[in-house]
Symmetry: D3
Subunit: 254 residues, 6 copies
């Protein structure tokens, strides 16, 4: 069993008492991902990857995901104005991350991995981690936190395979081949390939504008086309992420 919330507390306490267990904490968002997909890939994918990593070791557990993330931005998630995209303030996300890390550390845990599934979360996770570590230091606790976004573990070789026509960057991979393939592999019931809207990758001016301009975003809400997504690619991507992250975690923490 890798999901800590599914353990009874005594089994969990025994498992973590030596402080060597690694706690993986997925952080996602509820955000539209185009007409062909559910609104929870940013939660489900990092959770599944965390579980995949945890299954490879006795000393890794997965914590319940933080499901609500920072406000979707036009250039990376389509923007915060789509119905269904349900985001929280930056300060709130900072506080949630801080509080949750501090709580797990009070159980005796000292090794954490935040697995981010939503591009816009990153800097607020950094700040939540920084404040948590500061707080813990004031309590005499030294902990370590690894922060990663799973897509940064996709190798160049995999990119070449999955994007045979060229790769336009992770930013515009919103609802595109990466996420759709992973969801086809992990939660095929959440994808309907018939509803994929094909379009060229979105391009943007070098600046952002607020309030957002919906006209900048394809009306589908995706930033690149998922037409080439497949379960097979999904498995490939999943495996490369799990393997890579497992490598980092063990190198660093085990």
């Amino acid at each position: 069993m890798v999901n800590l919330e599914q353990m009874d507390w005594q089994s969990y306490a025994k498992k973590v008492e030596d402080g060597n267990t690694v706690i993986m904490l997925p952080v996602g968002a509820i955000e539209q991902h185009g007409p062909h997909m559910s609104m929870n890939p940013d939660v489900l994918i990092p959770t599944a990857i965390s579980e995949g990593v945890a299954k490879k070791s006795d000393s890794i557990l997965v914590a319940p995901a933080i499901a609500y993330g920072y406000k979707s931005q036009v250039k990376s998630g389509g923007g915060n104005f789509f119905p269904g995209t349900t985001c929280i303030n930056g300060k709130t996300l900072i506080d949630v991350v801080k509080d949750v890390l501090v709580a797990y550390a009070r159980h005796g845990n000292r090794k954490f991995v935040l697995v981010n599934g939503h591009f816009e979360n990153s800097m607020f996770l950094v700040e939540g981690i920084d404040l948590a570590l500061e707080h813990l230091r004031h309590e005499g606790i030294q902990a370590q936190v690894m922060l990663l976004s799973y897509w940064d573990y996709v190798t160049q070789e995999t990119i070449t395979t999955v994007f045979p026509d060229g790769f336009t960057g992770w930013d515009v991979e919103h609802g595109g081949v990466l996420e759709t393939s992973l969801m086809l592999h992990l939660h095929p019931d959440c994808v309907d390939m018939d509803k994929v809207v094909h379009h060229h990758p979105a391009t943007f001016p070098p600046y952002d504008i607020f309030p957002s301009e919906p006209s900048w975003v394809p009306s589908s809400g995706t930033l690149s086309s998922a037409r080439n997504a497949s379960e097979e690619y999904g498995k490939l991507l999943f495996d490369v992420c799990v393997d890579g992250i497992y490598g980092s975690v063990t190198e660093r923490f085990c």
Copy 2:
């Protein structure tokens, strides 16, 4: 499909555009519930009940739960010092509730039901709701929020059936017959009746003390015995809660 995050955004947008859809938002906690049960009943039970309610109507949807709740208290949850009990600050919970409600209201939703599964959350939910409505009013939006804890829908008749030896109050029903029966019905894999520790219901002095005194709490972490829990009771409790809450929701909102 009743879980909104499993819908694609266009289906969701169409569903909620008239502002008459009711959004049910489960709020729970990650908290020890004795050696015989997983640490997520406060999330799973209100989520399942919300889904049960939503299945009865076309115009009710369930939002992803807020999984991390307010600090467990000795007299109602055993206390915040048990390994596995993972709680956030009151201000943080207030902010999460506020932000999430505001976000759903921006999609056009005006009718909300917060389904609480963790005793200690209640007043912070009240404040989060109050601040959300205030904020929305400043944006010219009038919304309505119903707040309930599912156990308040257990009828006297059901109490008599489920607690034949007398009922000692919802406070000490922590990890006891109520929650264990519901979990046996909903998630039997999360319960191991062989590990139930039988003890008399916990009794407490009329005050609270901080820092908490672990000696006040049975070492099992439960506040009453789950020995009499059963799947059958679980179904009974589930049905009475679903029916009652559905009644309130339709009376108020439909």
Copy 3:
């Protein structure tokens, strides 16, 4: 002299220097309590009870009350929409409690009793205490805080006497026999029994609704009738609370 603010600082300093003095801090609210009573019983009653307790011992002092409390709720205080009910945000109350406790601890005090007079305050007091103790720990200070609501010290025997026709719970004792009798005993000038509005105890659905519905609340603002209140009951209630609380305080702190 039991009210610390009436002492000169040198007498106070001498009194508290050994860290064994107990500081009682009443916390109340400015809230309507029906047409027959002033709006300050939630401040005056816990203050008087604290003074009663302090008079029994040389090592107990009463601090100035926190007079403004958390927002009145329909089911326990009539609601926050009555003219005269004057309440502060949850975060503000948390901060006031935290700051005041930290300040008294810096004088050398280590033993505190918060005497709550307003139902809705409770969880925010819990959080204020928790944050204060955390803050003090960061300064190397270990303190202890007892939290109580005075009505929890009314014994079953007293309830039987005071509510001969049956007791419907502390929640609806808003402006009813409990508070009115205590005020008749302590501050008779603040009560006008001729203005008591007699009505059945308020009953409510199992949920709360926001914004509040004034129609749920008797138009008097009371939740149960004060008709049976008397100075004699007030003395009885006062004595049982003072004795009980004094018992807890000495058991725990002296």
Copy 4:
């Protein structure tokens, strides 16, 4: 009756319904004032002055004081390190003032007077007022707030009478002739003239230093000598403040 909390809510509601009643809100502090005086003059004096003003008009009410104020400073209150001086953070005071003003405005009140009794509070009162008015504007409410410190109403003529040997400024009038005389007039039981420590007015360098240096402050905690204080001066000072403030209030609001 001038103290609004002593009214029943219906009388209060009737009084304030036209929005023309002036609400006076005393704001003080719990702070040492020398070995000869209690620690609450900063609360009692502005409360008494507010009551004095309110007694002159049917359309002025006094609200319960905010008793805990901002941190005492060396040059104006002796400093925050004296036992008994019990102060709250600046942000907390800002929030209390904001919340309380907003709450009174929601009753229909539009005219407020903050009567400050503690030098260090001033700028935090300014900010609390500013945030309250901003918040109220977002709710479509226009209110007006007058802010004053009572000593600013002592006329030159009175100064000449009360300080025949020369006046060294309000800053060092901490526990000196001004406050002691007023307390002798208003609360003689809180003063013991036999314990007055006579010393020259404190003088300070042009800078402040943090952490504070206790050696800068006379060991009595007073910044000037109360030896010349008298009940007669107290009455003079009280009357000139009440008359002056009443003049401002009526000129501005009535």
Copy 5:
């Protein structure tokens, strides 16, 4: 005159009264940039670029820079542990940006450009802008804010010229050719090319680790070598940024 703080208020008021003036607000950081450069390029460069843009039009003004920015990160700024790197919390930066935008909007301004000079600031600027616009909407004010980082205006052609040996990304351009060349052009007195430490561009694992590991960062504090920097490149980079940003600003706002 393009710097608004150097104008007298009446000239400024006249200039901005029609709401069509564009306010450019540089946001930087005080951060080490290697042994060969001062610690203020993130302030000086966006300020100079803003001034360059403003000089091209009568209806553009530059506001005083926000000089203290978000915590330096290892992979983009070397990390927050270097002496001299002086950074503020994320929430603080959010609040500063929000308050400053709201203040300028109250003067009548409706068009803003935030010119970011410090990679780590970006998401906190997004949030500060979002909260400012929300706040202004509550006051009935509609404003528009453009957000950009100046390096995003360096064209591919310029990159090819300035990085003839290949470009490794803006992240590692910390204290490298980009910033050093710009400073040589704008503030040559702040650069000492003799102190440049030559090294290969820093490479990092795909994750971040907290607390930071100083061993990940070249001991110079730079992430790529400035050896090829030149005043000529600086002029080129400056001109391409000024021209590009001017283009965006006029296209959007003029």
Copy 6:
């Protein structure tokens, strides 16, 4: 070189490593100062004075100023409603001061001087300092902070010289002889004596009113006349401030 941000980090690190360097931090505001002067004297003057002090010693450095300050008040700065006056909330200023002090202390610095140039900042600086020292204590760091407003170093003799017709107090010296003379000495390009509006010093009632009444303030925005300002007076004032502050700093810290 006295401005630390103009040093490279290694030179700075070497300079401050023994913890004996004094860091001077100017804090100002962007605020109208009449039609004859730019809006930045509150930043430029304390910066110049800090530099003047630092030039007298090898162990004093000047940090980049905090340029945006607390809201201008009618009686000391004309009020927050003038176009060009650009101010931040009190809580924000508290946080900026706190964060910046903590950051400099983490470099090893233990001696700080905050040089205030804007009357309204003072109490928020006090609170920022207090919170910074508290935070640092939690990290085991003891630091000392001197807080001063430069005008408090103008001697009586200088006042007599500069205000031959009588001195009406620093409050109304807003845009008057003090600031104008200093700017004529330090930044003559920011002053246009031809635009000085001559008027009697502003007088005010003993209270403040919110929202502010523009009619209380001379339409020029100045509170006293700058007609008698001169470069010569500016030099005199500058020197007396620099000398006095240098005296305090060395007495206290060197």
